[in-house]
């Protein structure tokens, strides 16, 4: 059996290249003996036999030479035919189902079954109490009901999760409507439909919210200073990527911004208008669980530039530290550097990598201190402790200002959700290491809830008028393209976790403090 290679993509998601037979697909022991053969389509089973006898590469070459069959073999996660809802995506069994390599049916067991059951429960086709990771008759009935509700009939509504049904489930959760419907259902008690997690759920939840880079077998990757894919060694690539990141940020946040004059800054009233609407639309989704205080510029919304400028002015040592912090953040968080780390199997906290990185870090801090501090002052937003700091710059034209206002709208939704977090949830996640759930439950879960709000919005003319204010163009009231807010990559982990534990558990934990519903041990 050949080993699977596991890579972490720049956004933190794994990329699994399947090179072994189907039985080995589920990482973390998600595949069980009762799945053997049962889920495989006949053509796939034949190909697997061929792979076992002739080898994977030979089989792949053969299949490539026969276009009619390429659709069913050796699909790779990240190949362009992937599940889109994060609650399903990257689960190898679910992706294989979507790729018509297998089905999920009566008798199957494992986390992939739990995810299907929880989706059916969140969609209203299965009682949440029936979610147990075992595909029994009740689950088959629920799948059949879902298939029928989606217009399938006859043999297509057979209670088996095949590629078509997987696609329908994926689409069903694409816009997060089921979660919003649950949150806003006035007839449902806030704890109705929550469920205690079993040991397998807790294990899977722990894996979902962990962001540490690991190989498929759970060990740290092996560091390779040089790799065949690039002529430059690790440290040369990192130095170039770090300098490029500083230059890119300085251009985007400092050089391309207008002078900081009152005429170029958004007035507080404009910020308050957008913030008030952000609170209103968030309360419309989660208001049954909790509402927070009003948001007001000068009180819990502040000018990030002013705050950080005052901090830098107050202490040269703090300014030095800010420059160092900015470089450390780029080293650990820049997409380009994460990609290089992934390609070289680098773990920056390890001695060998740290020794290579230390002189680069020092050199960049020294040479580019002024730019780093400019970036620090001009970073778009930060938040914590019920406080939101953001930039007030206006853009050079109406379209740019509309972009800024929509970005502000998205930021405030996210930050307002933060203010709704129950103290017991704060305590719970504070007790977790950052890369083992602490950060995912803090920022990822918040961003996931913010996403539920954002994706339920209809940006019709009245909403656009309110957000765009003086920059609204009545001649083209719906014309402005609205970019989705920046999201933490950890929101993906949060959504994956919700796919296992259900949105009812997640909301009860986050808003009501019922952390027993997300317990990990």
């Amino acid at each position: 059996m050949r080993e699977r290679a596991y890579q972490v993509a720049p956004d933190g998601r794994g990329s699994v290249h399947r090179t072994g037979p189907p039985r080995a697909r589920d990482p973390g022991g998600q595949s069980h003996s009762c799945d053997d053969g049962l889920g495989l389509e006949p053509a796939v089973a034949q190909l697997v036999q061929l792979q076992r006898s002739a080898g994977n590469n030979a089989t792949a070459r053969l299949v490539r030479s026969r276009p009619a069959t390429t659709a069913v073999v050796q699909r790779t996660i990240g190949d362009g035919h992937d599940l889109r809802s994060h609650r399903f995506a990257r689960n190898v069994a679910l992706e294989a189902t979507f790729d018509t390599e297998r089905t999920i049916r009566l008798g199957n067991r494992g986390v992939h079954v739990t995810i299907i059951q929880q989706a059916l429960a969140d969609a209203g086709f299965l009682a949440p109490a029936a979610v147990d990771g075992r595909f029994g008759a009740g689950t088959r009935t629920a799948v059949r009901a879902f298939q029928t509700a989606k217009g399938l009939s006859g043999a297509a509504a057979n209670g088996i999760v095949n590629a078509a049904t997987m696609d329908l489930l994926d689409q069903h959760f694409g816009g997060h409507r089921p979660e919003r419907d649950i949150a806003t259902d006035p007839a449902r008690g806030l704890l109705d439909g929550t469920r205690p997690l079993n040991a397998a759920d807790r294990r899977a939840l722990g894996q979902a919210i962990t962001t540490e880079q690991r190989t498929a077998s759970g060990t740290l990757p092996v560091f390779h200073r040089t790799i065949a894919a690039d002529p430059d060694p690790y440290e040369v690539r990192i130095r170039a990527a770090l300098n490029a990141a500083v230059s890119g940020l300085h251009h985007a946040l400092v050089a391309s911004r207008p002078p900081r004059t009152p005429a170029n800054l958004m007035p507080g009233a404009e910020i308050n208008r957008v913030a008030t609407k952000a609170k209103q639309v968030t309360d419309a989704v989660f208001g049954r669980y909790k509402t927070g205080p009003a948001l007001a510029f000068g009180v819990n919304i502040r000018d990030q530039f002013d705050v950080r400028d005052a901090q830098i002015a107050a202490s040269a040592a703090a300014a030095d530290q800010a420059a160092e912090w900015r470089v450390d953040k780029l080293l650990s968080g820049s997409d380009g550097i994460k990609q290089i780390d992934s390609e070289h199997g680098a773990v920056q906290g390890r001695a060998a990598e740290r020794a290579l990185l230390a002189p680069i870090r020092s050199a960049v801090i020294t040479a580019r201190r002024a730019e780093l501090l400019d970036i620090h002052r001009n970073w778009p937003a930060s938040a914590g402790g019920g406080q939101i700091n953001l930039q007030r710059y206006r853009g050079p034209n109406a379209a740019s200002n509309r972009n800024i206002l929509y970005e502000l709208f998205g930021i405030v939704i996210h930050e307002y959700v933060h203010t709704l977090e129950h103290p017991d949830h704060v305590t719970f996640r504070n007790n977790l290491p950052q890369q083992r759930g602490g950060f995912v439950l803090r920022e990822g879960m918040t961003d996931y809830f913010a996403k539920l709000v954002w994706e339920g919005l209809t940006f019709d003319a009245p909403l656009r008028v309110l957000i765009e204010g003086a920059f609204h163009d009545p001649a083209h009231p719906l014309a402005h393209p609205i970019a989705p807010p920046h999201r933490y990559s950890e929101a993906v982990n949060a959504e994956r976790a919700v796919g296992i534990i259900g949105v009812r558990n997640a909301m009860a934990a986050f808003f009501l403090g019922r952390t027993d519903l997300i317990r990990l041990t």
Binding site: G248, L249, H251, A252, L253, G292, P293, A294, L295, A296, F297, G298, V299, N300, R302, D306, V307, R308, A310, Q311, A313, A314, S315, A316, A317, A318, Q321, A322, W325, K329, D335, W379, P380, A381, S382, A383, G384, G385, G386, Q387, N389, N403, I411, H414, T419, P423, D424, V426, T427, R442, E443, A483, H486, R487, Y488, S489
Partner: protein
């Protein structure tokens, strides 16, 4: 000198804490509000919910944040206060702190920078060069109560930004 006078003069060398039953209304009468809006947050490691308003006073470039529970004023915070005297005068007057704790100022960690003087009702957040970065003012208490019920965590997280996105 009343607590309000000390705050107005930015002189905390003779500070002995807020009155135990300090009324927010009294503070509110003395220091104008920046805005009538009130906000909420959590205090201490026990995450005690509290509300606050922002008030204006000379020499406090980032204003005063007055936290209250019901009608009771429980905590006043000031970032980068312009003290009337040198920081060393304040440190001498307060004596050695009962406890020092790490704190995070925005995104920057300041190890052992939080100097807690619970019997004087003041915590001074001291920067790497010995300057006063922040003040927390409250009624005299003990270290444990300050940490569990009053300390305001000011650690911030930056929102993600990708320069390639419009």
């Amino acid at each position: 000198m009343t607590p309000w006078d000390a705050i107005a003069r930015r002189d905390f060398t003779d500070w002995h804490g807020l009155p135990a039953d300090a009324a927010y209304a009294s503070f509110d009468d003395r220091f104008p509000r920046l805005s009538d809006a009130e906000a909420a947050g959590m205090l201490g490691s026990h995450n005690v919910p509290a509300r606050y308003r922002v008030h204006v006073a000379e020499g406090y470039p980032l204003n005063l944040q007055a936290w209250f529970m019901g009608s009771r004023l429980v905590l006043i915070e000031a970032d980068v206060p312009r003290l009337v005297g040198a920081p060393a005068e304040l440190f001498d007057a307060l004596g050695p702190p009962a406890a020092t704790v790490d704190f995070t100022w925005d995104v920057l960690a300041v190890p052992q920078g939080g100097h807690i003087h619970p019997d004087r009702g003041i915590t001074v957040f001291v920067g790497p060069e010995g300057q006063v970065l922040r003040l927390a003012l409250y009624a005299p208490t003990d270290v444990a109560h300050y940490q569990t019920e009053l300390h305001h965590e000011t650690k911030l997280t930056e929102l993600p930004f990708r320069p390639d996105t419009p």
